[in-house]
Symmetry: C2
Subunit: 95 residues, 2 copies
Amino acid sequence: MKTRTKDYYVAQAAVIKAMGHPTRLLILNSLKKKETCVCELRDLVGDDISTISKHLLVLRKAGLVASRREGNWLHYRLTCPCVLDFTGCIAGLKR
Amino acid sequence: MKTRTKDYYVAQAAVIKAMGHPTRLLILNSLKKKETCVCELRDLVGDDISTISKHLLVLRKAGLVASRREGNWLHYRLTCPCVLDFTGCIAGLKR
DNA sequence: CAAGTATTTGGCTATTCGGTAAAATAGCCA
DNA sequence: TGGCTATTTTACCGAATAGCCAAATACTTG
C-alpha cells in the first residue's frame, strides 16, 4: 500500500474505530439529541465514571466530540452529527 | 443500559468495529469498484495472504462482504456499498 | 484556605486484536 | 489418484483495549 494511501486510511480508521464500541455509540447517539455532562452519561450508561471519562477521551481524540465547561460540569457535544447518518444502512445488513 | 438497547448497540458496534482498520477500509473501498479475488487484494495491500484472509473473515462475519467461488478463486464483493457513504463526513473532521 | 463536587489520570488485570508461519482444506487438471 | 494453485485455519506472540479502583486535578463555595 502506498504511504499516501495508507495514511489516509489510517486516519479514517482511527475515527471509525473510535465509534466501534457499544458504549461510545450510545454516548454519541445521546449527544446527538443534546449537550450532556459526564455525570448524566454515567447514569445513562451505568459504568464507572472513570470508564465513561476514558470513552470520552477516545471520542475527543478522534475529533467526534468537544466539551465546554460550566462551573464544575463539563458539557460534551457532538462535533459532526452526520457521523451517525449511516447507521440505518448498517442496521439493514443481514448477518 | 437496558438489555434491549445494549444488544442494539453491540450489534451496530460490531459492524463499525469491523470497518475500523486501515487494511479493511482499503479492501472495502477496492471492492466498491469491483468484485476481487483474494490474491488481487494481497497484491493491493501487500500483507501476508493469511493476514488478508483473516481481515476478510472479520468483514464476512460483520456481513459487509460475501464471496463467490469460481474454480480456485474466491471473488469477494461488497454486500452493502452504502456503508462507505459516510467517509466524506469523517474526512471533514478537524482533529 | 478548607471542604465538597465533577472529572480526569495512573495503575493494574483480563481480554481481544493483528500479524506471521506452518499445516490443513478446496477445487482443478493430467 | 497425485500434483498444483488458491485460500483458510491453527498456533503463537506482542501490542492494544476495556474496565475498575484509587489518587490527582479543576472548580465552587463557605
